[in-house]
Symmetry: C2
Subunit: 144 residues, 2 copies
């Protein structure tokens, strides 16, 4: 791999000039870096407040624009819980979200290896699933 990285997602180190076909402007890089560093599923406003710290001239509209671009290019996932503000997640491994009511933390939950959706659901034969969103709410066992 060379420095340009025109291909798919980005993993580790400095964010190159283009990722997944998306040109990394100063603002997009800042937004993307926050989502790579902070895996707490921040909202657009959360991201805005964090970007502001190092780039005070950034506007909220730009944060929305950047998030939209990152989502459209598949670098980031948009996560919705009921009617709450959207949250953003840079974990590209297929996973679902568990909102722990006792801590407020949103956890990434992965699928068990070999698990198939068709084993769980009565889907008509020949169904194509293009997108899936699964969110859980509850409490995790408290760590000792």
């Amino acid at each position: 791999m060379v420095s340009s990285d025109q291909g798919g997602e980005h993993t580790g180190g400095e964010i190159p000039a283009v990722v997944g076909g998306l040109r990394m402007t100063k603002q997009r890089r800042a937004v993307y870096q926050i989502l790579l560093d902070d895996r707490d599923h921040p909202t657009a406003t959360d991201v805005f407040r964090r970007v502001e710290k190092t780039m005070p001239s950034t506007s909220l509209a730009t944060v929305y624009n950047c998030l939209e671009a990152l989502v459209e290019h598949g670098l980031v996932n948009q996560v919705n819980f009921d009617r709450e503000p959207s949250r953003f997640c840079s974990n590209l491994k297929e996973h679902v979200h568990f909102h722990d009511e006792s801590t407020g933390v949103i956890h990434d939950i992965s699928f068990k290896k070999g698990a198939k959706l068709e084993d769980l659901l009565s889907l008509p034969k020949g169904t194509t699933v293009k997108d899936l969103e699964l969110t859980l709410r509850g409490v995790l066992p408290k760590k000792k």
Copy 2:
């Protein structure tokens, strides 16, 4: 069972004066009846337009109030697809939602008998799941 039906959900026939602890006003009954009759997962505005036909004095605020009351009393489920307007569903059997892109229809999909969420997801032992929302988008095989 006698005519009052103070207990759980309502199934078939005329809607009694109280269902699931919720007193059925004229407006609540109209909203509930629509959701029982029309299983197409209408939005609040959809419901409003349908209620209007037989009760033209009904306000949109009342439709929202009624839907909220029905949801709080567990007679109806609120369903969210991404950031679209909420939809409402009177199917109380545990199920998930499949949005067919080719027809626009939202289908109820039930769990396979005996299927367990823990078989699909890597949930820490001792996790309590209080709520689950699973939505799918894709295409169903076209009926001949």
